[in-house]
């Protein structure tokens, strides 16, 4: 809680340059007040819901994998079509405007699985299609997914480098 005096200062504007320091104090007092008044997110609920929904998406993926393996593919061969099915599912749900509703409830449970990744690409593609196939959809499709790919590859390189060092 900012002090009584500090709170009274928040609404006063500096009239001189020397008052800049006072302005800084005022900003600090106000930000402290905002932080206190801002409702805290229900973290525990978010964790639980993300765990359950994300887990459910993964269980669905496992089920699809089981179908492909049941058809005689080994686990390496079956994982590629499984990913394709999950990506398609993510895209279809995005196209019908369902995935963002699901994400509003599920949070990270919707964002982390590959269906969420598919959603970022599909949602961007849908948004920018009016600006044309090339400069709109083509250029902007990876506006959200792009950084995930860039830093995903980068961390892959780091991880394999560490593995390499350890195995020397």
């Amino acid at each position: 809680m900012p002090s009584e005096k500090a709170r009274k200062q928040i609404t006063k504007m500096p009239e001189t340059i020397q008052a800049a320091q006072e302005q800084k104090r005022r900003q600090e007092a106000y930000q402290q007040l905002v932080a206190e008044r801002t409702p805290k997110p229900p973290y525990l609920r978010h964790f639980l819901v993300a765990f359950m929904t994300g887990g459910a998406v993964c269980a669905l993926g496992q089920f699809v994998l089981g179908i492909f393996m049941g058809r005689g593919l080994d686990i390496n061969a079956a994982s590629a079509p499984t990913l394709a099915v999950m990506i398609l599912l993510g895209i279809v749900l995005t196209a019908f405007g369902i995935y963002d509703e699901f994400a509003e409830f599920a949070g990270a449970g919707a964002a982390v699985p590959i269906t969420g990744f598919a959603n970022t690409v599909a949602a961007s593609a849908m948004d920018f299609k009016h600006e044309g196939w090339v400069l709109g959809m083509g250029a902007k499709m990876f506006i959200i997914a792009g950084p995930v790919i860039v830093y995903g590859i980068l961390s892959g390189v780091f991880a394999s480098f560490i593995t390499y060092i350890i195995r020397l």
């Binding site: 504007m13 008044r37 978010h46 963002d100 994400a103 990270a108």
Partner: protein, 336 residues
């Protein structure tokens, strides 16, 4: 000598502009809100029969302007100026609607404070003797604002409790130099205030100090205590922002009581409609004031109101570069 300027930031209109007609139009979600009965047109969907969100926003603005002109009962050709603004880059909704209306055009940007900013300017033009009729309008659209300031519409985002929901709609009014109707009597133009809030999902907190500053200056300039108004409205501070506004005002010795409300808390049912901290967007303050509040005045429930429409003057670039969010609030007084 500026004879109409009172105090540091307030204008007292000697020939107060009359509100001759208003037009309001909203999307389906606002149409399910508690103020629906006071709004002229409620659209069944967000597209308005157009291919892109930008085109539908433009059409909203044109429609609101048309309704306001019709209601005022004057010929479109008699309107001297069209003052409009919106949230999009280069205020395309406003300028493209001006292309359709063919009235001399003044484009303004005040983010969500545009409606009172435009009304202030329109009032000054009329009171200065430069025009007999001025059309003021502004619009916002959920989809275009999301695209402009946030993420793709269908993206998997879990909104924060402090984030606000952009109103789809447009509001317009015709100001006239003579006639009958509510009058715009005072206008206090706000200073841009920045107390260092950087979270673009907490715009209410970013704008609250600006709204408070404008209130304090309005009270100091006019000598009208807050309890002299039947209603004090802030633009779109939302639940957190309006709480902060009331606290700041109280700390500064200017108590706003039960006559205080926020447009962002009125247009939606914040309990049942999932809108985070409340509504936002240029259309929020415009639709609530031009639609609901002026109709309440017509019904005789309100006599004198103070609107402080608030705007967060950020751009997607500025907050990505780590800049804090400046806010502004412009106040107008409407009296019967």
């Amino acid at each position: 000598m500026a004879s109409k300027k009172i105090g540091k930031a307030t204008v007292k209109f000697t020939n107060p502009p009359i509100i001759a007609g208003t037009g309001t139009i909203v999307g389906p979600m606002e149409g399910r809100g508690p103020l629906a009965k006071d709004i002229d047109v409620i659209l069944p969907d967000l597209t308005f029969g157009e291919k892109t969100g930008e085109r539908s926003e433009r059409k909203l603005l044109e429609q609101a302007a048309q309704i306001a002109i019709e209601r005022s009962g004057i010929d479109k050709g008699m309107i001297d100026y069209y003052i409009a603004g919106d949230l999009l880059n280069q205020i395309i909704s406003a300028s493209f609607s001006a292309r359709q209306l063919a009235i001399p055009f003044i484009g303004v940007y005040g983010a969500c404070s545009t409606c009172s900013m435009g009304t202030t300017l329109g009032g000054m033009i009329i009171d200065g003797g430069f025009a007999d009729y001025v059309l003021v309008a502004c619009s916002s659209h959920y989809q275009t604002a999301e695209r402009q300031f946030r993420y793709p519409i269908e993206l998997n985002i879990q909104h924060k409790a402090t984030s606000q929901y952009t109103v789809t709609g447009a509001g317009a009014l015709v100001l006239a130099s003579s006639g009958n109707g509510p009058r715009v009597t005072w206008a206090t133009t706000g200073r841009v205030i920045d107390l260092g809030v950087k979270d673009p999902y907490n715009l209410g907190a970013a704008m609250a100090p600006a709204a408070c500053d404008t209130l304090l200056r309005h009270v100091a300039d006019t000598g009208c205590a807050p309890d002299m108004y039947d209603l004090i409205l802030t633009g779109d501070l939302g639940s957190l922002g309006s709480q902060l506004f009331a606290e700041l005002a109280k700390d500064a010795g200017c108590n706003v009581g039960n006559n205080y409300n926020d447009c962002g808390l009125m247009i939606f049912d914040t309990k049942t409609q999932r809108v985070g901290s409340g509504a936002s967007g240029c259309a929020c303050a415009a639709v609530v004031t031009f639609g609901h509040v002026l109709k309440e005045m017509e019904r005789g429930n309100l006599k004198k109101i103070l609107l402080i429409a608030t705007g967060a003057l950020l751009s997607p670039l500025s907050f990505q570069q780590g800049e804090s969010i400046p806010g502004v609030g412009h106040a107008i007084v409407i009296e019967l």
